[in-house]
C-alpha cells in the first residue's frame, strides 16, 4: 500500500486543524483576574493605577519642567508589573493586548505620539529618555524568573477600562494565557 493512499483519507482532518497544532500542542486558557492582580505558577501580573499627583511627583523629582508635568497630569497612567515565574521563556507583546471601555476600543498613547508631543514642546532629550524608560516595554521575551514593568498610558476619560492581556510561555509559545482585568479605573487625586 502506498503512503499517499494511507494519508489521503486523513487529509480533511489534517486541514481542519490549526497549522501550529501540527508542530506542537498549543494550549490556551482564558482567565479573569480578581481586582488588579493575577498570578499562577507561570507568571504574575499586577496593575497599579496612578493618581495625577503621584505621576507629577515622580517626574518633578526627576527635574522635569512644569510644561511636561502639566502634560502627564492630563492622561491616565497604569503601572504594569510582569514577572516570569516559570522555567521557560515568557513572551510579552503589547500589540496583542486589548483595551476596551463601554464605547469600544481604547487607544493607548503610544511612544511615537509622545516623541512627537515632546519634540513639539521642546522637552530635553534626557527627559525624553527617562520618560521612555518608565514606559512598559512594547515587546520583550522574559527569561525565567525575570520581572519587568512600566507604565501604560491612556486618555483620561473617566470610563472604566477592561484590559485583555495575552502572555505566551515556552520556546514555541505553546502555552497561551489570556487574562482579563475588568473595570480598571484611572486613579484620581483625593479631593
Amino acid at each position: 500500500m502506498r503512503l499517499t493512499n494511507l494519508l489521503l483519507p486523513l487529509l480533511p482532518l489534517m486541514l481542519s486543524l490549526p497549522v501550529n497544532s501540527w508542530a506542537a500542542n498549543v494550549s490556551q486558557e482564558k482567565l479573569t483576574a480578581k481586582g488588579t492582580k493575577f498570578e499562577n505558577q507561570y507568571f504574575r501580573l499586577r496593575l497599579v493605577p496612578r493618581t495625577p499627583n503621584q505621576i507629577a511627583a515622580f517626574y518633578e523629582a526627576r527635574g522635569f519642567p512644569s510644561f511636561a508635568i502639566a502634560e502627564v497630569r492630563k492622561v491616565c497612567f497604569i503601572t504594569v508589573g510582569l514577572g516570569n515565574r516559570s522555567k521557560k521563556k515568557l513572551y510579552h507583546d503589547l500589540s496583542k493586548w486589548q483595551f476596551t471601555d463601554k464605547d469600544g476600543v481604547v487607544q493607548r498613547v503610544l511612544r511615537p505620539n509622545w516623541k512627537q508631543r515632546w519634540n513639539k514642546m521642546g522637552l530635553e532629550k534626557r527627559f525624553q529618555s527617562t520618560f521612555r524608560w518608565t514606559l512598559m516595554p512594547e515587546k520583550l521575551d522574559f527569561y525565567p524568573q525575570e520581572g519587568e514593568g512600566g507604565n501604560l498610558i491612556f486618555p483620561r476619560t473617566g470610563r472604566p477600562i477592561t484590559l485583555r492581556t495575552r502572555i505566551q510561555i515556552g520556546k514555541n509559545k505553546t502555552k497561551i494565557f489570556e487574562v482579563t482585568f475588568k473595570d480598571i479605573t484611572c486613579a484620581k487625586d483625593p479631593s
Binding site: 532629550k125 534626557r126 524608560w133
Partner: protein, 172 residues
C-alpha cells in the same frame, strides 16, 4: 582493552570540560559573544572613558538611574564588589542614564560616596546598548565581546556571584 582506555580518556576529558564550564548564577544570562560597540563617555569632572581602552581586561558595564528602586539597593553592593576586585583584571564602568551632574552627585553621595559613574547625558548610549531595564550589567570579555548579562539588581555580595566573577577572571 585499548579501546576501553581510549573511551575512559574521552570520558575524563568531557567530564573535566563540564566541571570547568562556567555556570552563571541566577539571572545571569550568557550572551552570544557579539563584539561590543565602542563608546566614549564622560564623568561630571570631564574625565573621559572609551570602551576600547579596556581591551585585554574584563569590563563590568553597569547602566543605572537614581529613580530606579533596585539601583538604589544595589549601589552599596557594587561598591563592596568593586573594592574586592580592585587589583583584578576588571574595569568597573558605571553609566548613569539621562540624569544631570547634581542628581548623580547627590545620589551617590547618599548611597556609595566612593563609587564613580560616567554619564549618558541624553540617554542615547543606553538606548544603543538596549538593556532590558534598569539596572542592567553587561560583562565584556578581554577580547571586547558581550559575554554575560545580569538581569536587574543582583546580590553581588553573595558567594555564588563573586565566585562567578572570579571564574571569569581566571578564564583561559
Amino acid at each position: 582493552m585499548n579501546l576501553v582506555r581510549l573511551l575512559l580518556l574521552f570520558f575524563l576529558i568531557g567530564a573535566s570540560q563540564f566541571l570547568l564550564a562556567i555556570e552563571p548564577p541566577a539571572k545571569i544570562i550568557e550572551l552570544d559573544k557579539q563584539p561590543a560597540q565602542n563608546f566614549l563617555v564622560e564623568d561630571y569632572d570631564g574625565n573621559k572613558y572609551e570602551l576600547k581602552s579596556s581591551k585585554g581586561r574584563w569590563v563590568f558595564l553597569h547602566f543605572w538611574a537614581s529613580w530606579c528602586g533596585p539601583c538604589r539597593k544595589e549601589m552599596p553592593l557594587l561598591y563592596k564588589l568593586q573594592k574586592r576586585l580592585k587589583d583584578k583584571n576588571i574595569d568597573f564602568v558605571l553609566i548613569n542614564t539621562s540624569e544631570d551632574e547634581d542628581t548623580i552627585f547627590e545620589f551617590l553621595g547618599g548611597v556609595a560616596p566612593d563609587l564613580h559613574s560616567y554619564m549618558d547625558k541624553d540617554g542615547e548610549l543606553t538606548e544603543l546598548w538596549a538593556p532590558r531595564g534598569l539596572p542592567t550589567t553587561f560583562f565584556i570579555d578581554p577580547k571586547g565581546r558581550r559575554r554575560y548579562l545580569a538581569l536587574g539588581g543582583r546580590p553581588w555580595d553573595k558567594a555564588e556571584y563573586q565566585q562567578f566573577i572570579f571564574q571569569l577572571l581566571n578564564e583561559k
